[in-house]
Point group: C2
Chain length 661, copies 2
């Protein structure tokens, strides 16, 4: 029988459209009309739980239109190990055959289609197999058959077993958006050179092992913090905005196929203590990717509930809440529109045995043997520079109780991290602990092109790492603790010279102002490390002596909205562009004495954006030697999992039992 | 006796001016009026030869005016080891007291002074002690006394001895201006991902050890290629534009205090073969810093003579010329205005026993047992993209003979490097070899904001590294060879998304064009790795299949002249800005369909500039384990010197004797 001509034409169109679709895609992990999720080329930890979804797509219109928009409901799927016998998914995983699901979604094939408002509509037939695991290392081939003759194949690799624990504790510091370029700049601001020799260095500079991780996502080369944190915590890259799941095309933001995270594994297998600290909303992507399962990182309320209670709407791995959970974002805890089901999450945590701290004084006094929640303000924590230098900026309505007043008694990343270590060390006992500590505003301030505020928070991270090492030494657990410092992605920031602010401000012409910028031999030395008469912040040896010298760094991102540059620290946080009808223009109130730089981003962007660059990984402690060289962000998960003996050949639940006792 | 009031006032002024001078400095390594060069805090290899200069400054006018502009000619200087007895310099180094030198120089205290054309004039008294060495590890204190009571102290550290050779050969690849960000972008262009997993990787990605080196110079935080190459080759940071010397204030560009380089040490101690390969003028900074001693990198003619004949105008370490010397820049070889003393340097090299190749065919046929010179064009070598993709751009008047025709039979970095290895392996024999191979146009094309051409040359470097490893394996010397791949400094480049060129070009409004840029989930995947019907370059597996896809990378530097951006490869090399009366504006002929981006650099800058970022160091082979972590660029020299056993406790000249036989 000859193929129908319309099918041939549709296939041809489909293959062409696959080659050109980029800005928008039908489904990133599914270039054909049959989708296997997790897709081809994915890696797994032995014993790690996950969901499988199959989708068969029938585009009704557009370049891929097929089968009059009727998806094949009779698709079948099999799995085979190391080229062996193919068995049905239900049979292989000893599950009942799930019921068929159906939905419709639409997408734009490119920007022209978006401008013309001509979406392509796709009907879908699907099945999801929940909570399965592969226990034996090897190569698995999953085959989806559909439209009588079409096939989509996915090859999955289950990595070798590592059942022995080599590190008792792991502390994973994440400088959100932090690159090597920023680390270099932070060093320049806080540490003095004499004739080219640094007299002191960053704490990071002392780490013996350095690696680079590639941050791209499963379906795009630029990632976001949800997606990238998920890769670091699960060993599975995902889609922008997704955490703990592969994104499917269904309308439900919580039914996407899940993957087990490092803290879920650690809880189930060893029963260790775990904690998360962040200077952002504690519901932000980097902390909630430890526990959250949704393709929508913006679902803050649910994500906090998932951190405390685990996934409740699907069959999923059992776990327990954090032993220490410190950050900002009181909006998800105060009963009301920001919290899950309007409930009081301070009470929800307290009912589960947590101490609850709403300021630094209370945090420091909290008992170390009890689970601890600390939420210190609404929104993100004010940044280090505003907490220490421009304290007027703390006069905002952000009290974590919801009262109309300022949160002033604020801990920083250091205080939160040190307290978390006290609690986790105490509660983890011989099972040890896992702590993630995030310097979130490196990223947030780089988005705002506020280079100084970003670097201030980077220096706070470095100071926290330094103090953490001392703390672990004093607790006699330094040698048992793997410390990793890395990032989730970058921004294209770099310093290219200095700017003479006095000369800059004395010029009225915008081009003449640019003459203030000194490059190469005119860049000079850092003046941030020179004492200035009358200026004393009391912020210690590892921070600038003067944040506002005459000669400041000239720096930039390359990926900007329209904005003005004047260089040098601003006394208030920066908003480089302002929006009118969804289009952003120079914010006339920001750096009013500066010169205009036209943006390089879509006019709808009011901020700088993430970049492609590999980010550094610093390692010290047990297993440090495995972190050298260049690797994918998912490998960071496998390296940590390997060091914690999380690859298990059977369904281990001893951890949960230990914690019950 | 009370101090004279004018002295107090002058001292106060001096200390104030020291705090504010940045764009210009009197002498970067000399904040006081007495200069010890090498200055305070410098490190030395035991036995490494160097010069010492003392200067006493008497500013006649300006904020530092002192002693009516009369410098103290009766200054004295001493040196002591590990806090022991101070001895005069002449006595300690067993030299005759040198004669006094005197000169005058001027500088601007800041941009206001420059605009007002009011230089500060300084009279100088000085002495230079030539060709000394410190053989014993330890701390040395050099004290300069002047103006009856003033003192300048320099502490020098001679690092521990390492007399044993651990690697027979060293190959040092330098990607000029190459950063981690660029390496990440190059990987994206040439290597395909499927669902987030790279199917192939860069050769650099396979290196087991990764480090970061800090590139700042002795007196500025932004460096150039002379200064930074000098740090890598000598263990001494210098000043922008200087190579193999510390910069002094004298008018003579060749009398500055010298430091012995790695090839001079290797020649003197072991008699190994050495070579340099570059895609730039062979007289450019990165290759000539191996042998050159001048604070003026632009003295191309002299620098080529120094490479062949060593330093001839001062008492200096004896050495021999390169065994393989391949690159561009025929201007310094053709008898005429570009060559030293107008001489024919093809003949000068030939007279010293070199084979001379002026094209690839001749290069490949050159005997491996003879010293080899290869100069393949005037100016820099055409870049990889123009040699392979846009070959029309080779139609330029650049024949290395000086004839008015095009050099077409051109080797690339790979051919030059592989041939150099053949010659060096043959000639180095049991003493081994040192080869520096430079991908120069990564930097040169980043200066021109020509991202694609820069990344093309980065991929050529990676391909050369890959082939070099295979070559060393086939010669059975891979295990004896330390391979380092690093850079000398960065540019603030990063990729932040994709651009839909079809949509971009269909818009007429500059803001609307920016809507073509896709960030985050709209960045998509690399289309450079997708085959395009009818496009086949035959450039092999490790290069893009399509340099000109519909969706291209959107990238930038952040440090730019006024220019237009359109993204995507240009069919001709890029000139982003054009100058009128020393002021640069958008070049209307460059990317005429793009949108304007205002510059962030002084209007006198027509190109992008270098940046601050630490750059990566990749290592494999003997001593690889010493290259992990973060360190200064001078440490790269000490690590290599350590691996080659170049730290010697006596004046070793066996290498020179071996080569004579």
């Amino acid at each position: 029988m000859f193929p129908r001509l319309d099918v041939v034409a549709a296939c041809l169109a489909a293959s062409l459209s696959v080659a050109s679709a980029q800005t928008f895609r039908r489904l990133g992990t599914c270039p054909t009309l049959g989708c296997v999720i997790p897709p081809d080329q994915q890696d797994f930890l032995p014993g790690q739980e996950f969901d499988i979804r199959f989708e068969v797509h029938a585009p009704k219109n557009g370049s891929e239109a097929f089968n009059n928009g009727v998806p094949d409901e009779a698709f079948t799927a099999t799995i085979s190990k190391n080229g062996g016998r193919a068995r049905s998914i239900a049979d292989f995983f000893k599950q009942k055959e799930p019921s068929l699901e159906k939905w419709t979604f639409s997408w734009y094939e490119d920007l022209f289609a978006q401008d013309a408002k001509t979406p392509s509509v796709v009907n879908v037939a699907s099945k999801a197999y929940r909570r399965v695991a592969l226990y034996e290392p090897g190569t698995y081939t999953v085959t989806l058959k559909y439209y009588s003759g079409k096939t989509t194949t996915a090859e999955w690799t289950v990595r070798p077993l590592a059942t022995r624990k080599k590190a008792k504790n792991v502390i994973f510091f994440i400088g959100d958006g932090m690159t090597t370029n920023m680390i270099t700049a932070a060093r320049l601001l806080a540490h003095k050179t004499i004739n080219g020799k640094y007299q002191t260095l960053l704490s990071l500079d002392d780490f013996p092992v350095l690696g680079h991780q590639m941050t791209h996502s499963v379906d795009t080369f630029i990632t976001d913090s949800a997606n990238s944190a998920s890769a670091l915590y699960t060993g599975h890259k995902s889609t922008v905005n997704a955490l703990g799941v592969y994104a499917d095309s269904s309308p439900d933001q919580f039914d996407d196929p899940k993957v087990e995270t490092i803290v879920e594994l650690l809880a189930r297998i060893w029963g260790s203590a775990w904690g998360a600290v962040s200077t952002a909303f504690i519901a932000d992507a980097t902390p909630t990717a430890l526990t959250g399962h949704s393709r929508a990182r913006g679902q803050y309320g649910v994500l906090v509930d998932q951190a405390l209670n685990g996934v409740r709407n699907y069959s999923w791995t059992k776990t327990y809440g954090p032993d220490a959970y410190f950050g900002g974002g009181a909006e998800q805890f105060i009963a009301g529109s920001g919290s899950y089901q309007g409930k009081d999450y301070y009470a929800e945590f307290a009912n589960k045995g947590y101490s609850v701290s709403l300021n630094k004084t209370s945090l420091l006094a909290a008992p170390n043997n009890k689970k601890a929640l600390g939420i210190f303000c609404r929104s993100n924590l004010p940044v280090w520079i505003d907490r220490h230098i421009f304290t007027d900026n703390l006069e905002i309505n952000n009290d974590p109780s919801g009262a109309n007043k300022s949160a002033k008694d604020l801990p920083g990343l250091k205080e939160m991290t040190l307290k978390a270590i006290d609690v986790l060390h105490n509660r983890g006992s011989k099972e040890g602990f896992f702590l993630m500590s995030e310097a979130a505003s490196i990223d947030k301030q780089m988005h705002a092109l506020d280079y100084d505020r970003a670097l201030g928070d980077l220096l706070e991270l470095d100071d926290t790492v330094r103090t953490t090492i001392e703390k672990l030494k004093s607790l006699r657990i330094l040698d048992d603790t793997l410390i990793i410092v890395s990032a989730d992605h970058g921004h294209g920031f770099d310093v290219f010279g200095s700017s003479d602010t006095k000369y800059f401000n004395a010029q009225t012409d915008e081009r003449a102002k640019r003459k203030a910028i000194g490059v190469y031999e005119e860049s000079g030395l850092s003046q941030y490390t020179e004492p200035k008469p009358g200026v004393s912040y009391g912020t210690g040896a590892n921070f600038p002596l003067n944040w506002d010298p005459r000669y400041v760094i000239a720096a930039g991102l390359g990926a900007n909205p329209d904005h003005r540059e004047a260089y040098g620290v601003g006394s208030t946080p920066r908003t480089p562009a302002s929006g009118r009808n969804g289009e952003y223009y120079v914010n006339d109130k920001d750096r009013p004495n500066g010169f205009v730089v036209n943006g390089t981003l879509p006019p709808s962007a009011g901020q700088g954006v993430h970049s492609l660059t590999d980010v550094p990984v610093y390692a010290r402690g047990p297993c440090q030697e495995t972190f050298g060289g260049t690797y994918s962000n998912i490998d960071v998960f496998y390296k940590i999992a390997n060091c914690l003996g999380l690859a298990q050949g059977r369904n281990v639940t001893e951890g949960l039992r230990k914690r019950r006792n």
